[in-house]
Symmetry: C2
Subunit: 268 residues, 2 copies
């Protein structure tokens, strides 16, 4: 089973703190090749990778019928024989050239050429050196404050928010978007434009805490990211290595701290 992974987590509520083992969904890059040419990378949960590769070829309009497919197989990784993150699909018409000319925002995770997900980040990001701390009771209040300021959620029910708060829980900025990554980019861009120090802020997101969210926070030097929802395995690994405090499931007065709990302090 590679689709979930156990992590040691601190579960806190208003009266207690307990360490327990949380099952976290695994996130890893999958590169898909057609006739041995890379056509794209997606961050996915391992499992059913051949379905995913064939499905992508179908939904990208590269194949219409399964009869067009010759073989589907993992490519061996020279560094790590156990790594199964590249799938090659051969087409029956092997001379067909397949273009993936459409470019979209990619993450630093997507090291082509078999680069491990964290490698390219290691080159670009220095571990956080930040002594900021924030009260546990402050973190507990953030989802409610975010929701109060979400102008569009109540009208549409389908939009994400990202907020920056200071250590006392005061809202500094909020931005909304149907894409959770966009909401984070908007709020970090707004901070840069208005000279708000992200290095002394808590980033609160309405969405799951995936790898890209943590990566974006790290690029902007944010020391604490909190979410109402679950983190991914790669998000936790990234946060632990680079000194970022990742807090998930901030709900109903409790929270799970997945990395660097020293920044979340208990006032009582």
């Amino acid at each position: 089973m590679r689709d979930t992974h156990p992590f040691k987590v601190l579960r806190c509520d208003s009266v207690s703190t307990n360490e327990f083992e949380d099952q976290v969904v695994v996130e890893e890059p999958l590169e898909v090749r057609v006739n041995n040419h890379s056509i794209g990378i997606t961050m996915r949960t391992p499992g059913d990778d051949f379905d995913l590769a064939v499905g992508l070829l179908r939904t990208e309009g590269i194949i219409q019928r399964f009869e067009e497919v010759g073989t589907v197989a993992y490519c061996p990784d020279e560094q790590d024989a156990n790594l199964r993150n590249v799938v090659n699909v051969t087409l029956v018409d092997s001379r067909r050239s397949v273009h993936a000319s459409r470019v979209r925002w990619a993450t630093s995770s997507c090291g082509l050429c078999g680069e491990a997900p964290l490698e390219s980040i290691r080159r670009n990001v220095r571990p956080l050196q930040c002594s900021m701390s924030v009260g546990r009771e402050v973190v507990s209040c953030l989802p409610g404050r975010m929701r109060e300021h979400q102008s569009n959620f109540n009208r549409t029910g389908g939009i994400h928010a990202a907020c920056l708060f200071d250590a006392s829980g005061r809202l500094l900025l909020i931005r909304e978007d149907l894409g959770r990554h966009n909401a984070v980019d908007k709020v970090l861009g707004a901070a840069l434009r208005s000279a708000i120090k992200t290095t002394e802020s808590v980033l609160m997101v309405s969405a799951r805490l995936g790898f890209e969210i943590v990566q974006k926070g790290l690029m902007a030097g944010v020391p604490v990211i909190a979410s109402v929802s679950a983190p991914s395995s790669l998000a936790i690994a990234l946060a632990r290595e680079f000194g970022l405090t990742a807090v998930g499931f901030v709900r109903d007065g409790s929270m799970n701290i997945y990395s660097h709990p020293e920044r979340i302090v208990h006032a009582l």
Copy 2:
């Protein structure tokens, strides 16, 4: 206000059907250019576009400080002067070349060169001609059946599912992934590999109904897509034009039908 848009919707529960006007979150492509060279496209909700552009440059590691930015401005669209979907950022160091070499899955929406989002789809997809119908009471049951079969959700709380059901509500396939687009690609790929007819199936997703989900469904000829959550404006526009039935907010015995309601029948 361009961030939400009204759509006429059929709201159904077990006893009644009412037309009402729903506010839907707007989804449109934003192309970001640096020194007039395109570096990527993201599907976003219009608004705070300069924050988004600057934020992306920051989180992609292209800039560290706002002082590196010269100007931020919309590029005029030659076809439609009101369209503000391209932002150009000039850097103070205008000779700096910026690469966006990382390629990831893109949608057909992302017509570079100012192509409208639906144009490239019009070239690749034919409108659905499918007489399949499904009972309203069947659709109501699908979220519960999906949840029963989600092996990982209860353990992690952070994984999406996509299912194919037949018209009687029988589960044909289920796939899970932390990425909702991956879950859809997995289930459609699995259908192709196991010769399950997507053209006679209902695709049920645990996630919001964005443009890309509807696009993927259309590429596989799926006639009905249902979601527990909200659709985007572009998802509805795409579904309406190409003859796909889009159903959102399937919860607690009621649902909103956003397009082609003729496939959702009332047994009573």
